[in-house]
């Protein structure tokens, strides 16, 4: 572990406190009284006041933040206004779906991006390189909700092969994960190609080639390990936009993940849920980027030996 990584691990709680404070302040300034919403429209003023008191909303803001943080640390994020369930439970229920969707989308993206980018770099300016570069730029331009609707029209409405919406069986996972994979496919593919090209022009590759190392061995054994670290960085940095993509994808396919939960919460102005999902999303982005850095320090031959 180098000093930079240790620094980032130590900064993690500080960043989370700042982010949670920002979210807390923002949500407290939202229009509407959560106590009134929780009590219902027919409730009397007395009932609303009682709910107000029981939620601790009549206490000073900093005390409230303290309570909120103490709760957040042990996983208590308040009660959802819409479902009346604890927010922690709601998130725990929806999180595995998003995790599954995200992992399968990244798996698809890696299966396409790494070999595709590798082949494009090995035969630079060849026919595959041109097709591949054209494909990635189109993939990066397709709005995922449109692609989702086209898939639904073809495979569910016309051919009747796949379930239209929801998460009922493993076949339900196919269309959402392919939709979510579009953007990372393009990114990982382009990054692999660019990174491989940079490595292939180095001296040690020329030396290896002069010694008579075959093309396959040269690329897979000598070049690829050195080309991967930037790809891992891009995967980590791209996670935010994949979570954003998950919000749209999950809404279109009715996939019961965190994105779906977030959209419902925004629609119902369910502030505790908005708060909770945002914190989980930010924490995931920070953690994954940290993991990406640790992975790089393990797989990068240069970082490992220095």
């Amino acid at each position: 572990m180098n000093a930079r990584l240790i620094n980032r691990v130590l900064m993690l709680p500080v960043v989370m406190v700042v982010v949670s404070f920002a979210v807390f302040v923002a949500v407290r300034h939202l229009p509407g009284d959560p106590a009134r919403m929780l009590a219902g429209t027919a409730a009397t003023q007395d009932t609303v006041d009682a709910v107000h008191h029981s939620l601790g909303l009549d206490r000073p803001a900093l005390r409230q933040y303290g309570t909120f943080m103490r709760g957040a640390l042990v996983g208590d994020l308040g009660i959802s206004i819409e479902s009346r369930q604890p927010v922690g439970q709601e998130i725990a229920h929806h999180f595995p779906y998003t995790l599954l969707l995200g992992l399968s989308a990244y798996a698809l993206a890696l299966c396409f991006g790494i070999p595709g980018g590798l082949a494009a770099a090995m035969f630079e300016d060849g026919i595959w390189d041109r097709i591949f570069m054209g494909m990635t730029i189109v993939l990066a331009s397709v709005p995922n909700f449109w692609f989702a609707l086209l898939l639904m029209e073809l495979f569910s409405v016309r051919l009747g092969l796949l379930p239209l919406m929801g998460a009922h069986s493993w076949s339900s996972l196919l269309m959402p994960s392919l939709t979510l994979a579009l953007m990372p496919m393009a990114l990982i593919g382009r990054m692999t190609r660019a990174s491989m090209l940079a490595v292939l022009s180095r001296d040690y590759i020329r030396t290896a080639r002069a010694r008579g190392v075959g093309l396959m061995r040269l690329c897979l054994r000598h070049a690829l390990p050195n080309a991967l670290p930037p790809v891992v960085t891009v995967i980590g940095m791209n996670l935010g936009s994949v979570i954003g993509g998950a919000v749209v994808t999950e809404t279109v396919f009715g996939w019961p993940g965190l994105g779906h939960l977030m959209i419902e919460a925004v629609r119902w102005r369910d502030y505790p849920v908005i708060e909770g999902v945002t914190l989980v999303a930010v924490l995931s982005v920070i953690l994954v980027n940290l993991v990406a850095d640790i992975v790089i320090s393990r797989i990068d031959p240069q970082a490992r030996h220095s």
Binding site: I137, S141, N144, F145, W146, M262, V266, Y271, V282, I286
Partner: protein, 274 residues
């Protein structure tokens, strides 16, 4: 004259030309919308819902009998407005913050970069959703939300560029001669950093359209019935299985518009890297 112009065109990357053509179509569509569109984009005709493609309705009609082609043509105006406003706001604020941070240094620099790091930790759409749930849905609130999450890229870019330029001899010389922070910023740094920042703007344009149409698709952008591409798809989605045309063509148009900006950005970068 024409000969040298032709060789100049031939030397430009294909992606740049394709991008320019697509965006020219878009700009023409926005400017000439009343001339091009065969019908009023808002006019409903409940006797002519879900019409197939025909001479009168090139892309068919939607659930309210509105002409899809006309709505797409008018939608160009919204998309171009989204791109222009978001890029102007985020680029101006981000560039200024990044340059000042690098020039002033010290606590100001640390504070700015900290805020940027924190904005960066929010997934773009999630931050936009948070802002939109604060301000309420609407076209301008949506643009504000997209601008906020686009700022960090510009701050970091401007910060890096300025740090590099600060070490340039002519900036050292100007400082020795007593030029103040604002003068150095305006005369020396701003003009030299403009190129890379413009390239970054063209690269961001595509993602602005994608973000705006996603938010409109989720029902958080423009008011219902507005001929905005994302909102059109949101309407069309409800009629999946009845008619695909109301979602097919707006989505295709978004793809072509985003592709246009992505190709332009890629082409400009190729020209500069040469």
């Amino acid at each position: 004259m024409t000969g040298s112009f032709r060789t100049l065109i031939a030397r430009l990357p294909l992606s740049l030309l394709a991008g320019v053509v697509l965006i020219t179509f878009m700009v023409l569509g926005a400017l000439l919308a009343p001339l091009i569109s065969p019908a009023d984009p808002l006019a409903q005709d409940l006797y002519a819902t879900f019409q197939p493609m025909s001479a009168a309705h090139p892309f068919g009609t939607d659930a309210f009998g509105r002409d899809i082609f006309s709505r797409i043509v008018y939608g160009t105006r919204y998309s171009l407005a989204e791109v222009c406003i978001c890029i102007l706001v985020s680029c101006a604020m981000g560039t200024l913050a990044g340059m000042l941070a690098a020039l002033v240094g010290g606590y100001v620099e640390q504070a700015v970069m900290w805020v940027v790091d924190i904005i960066f930790a929010f997934p773009g759409i999630v931050l936009a959703l948070l802002i939109l749930s604060l301000l309420g849905p609407g076209f301008f609130n949506m643009l504000l939300a997209i601008s906020v999450f686009s700022i960090p890229v510009y701050v970091r870019l401007a910060h890096n560029l300025t740090q590099a330029l600060q070490r340039a001899e002519y900036v050292e010389a100007a400082r020795t001669l007593g030029a103040g922070t604002w003068r150095i910023l305006y005369v020396h740094v701003m003009r030299n950093a403009l190129g890379p920042i413009l390239v970054q703007s063209t690269l961001t344009a595509g993602s602005v359209i994608l973000a705006a149409s996603s938010l409109s698709f989720l029902g958080l952008g423009v008011a219902p019935a507005t001929p905005e591409w994302g909102a059109m798809m949101s309407d069309g989605r409800s009629y999946l299985g009845i008619d695909i045309l109301p979602s097919l063509f707006p989505g295709l148009t978004i793809t072509l518009a985003v592709l246009g900006f992505n190709l332009l950005g890629e082409g400009v970068r190729k020209v500069i890297d040469k």
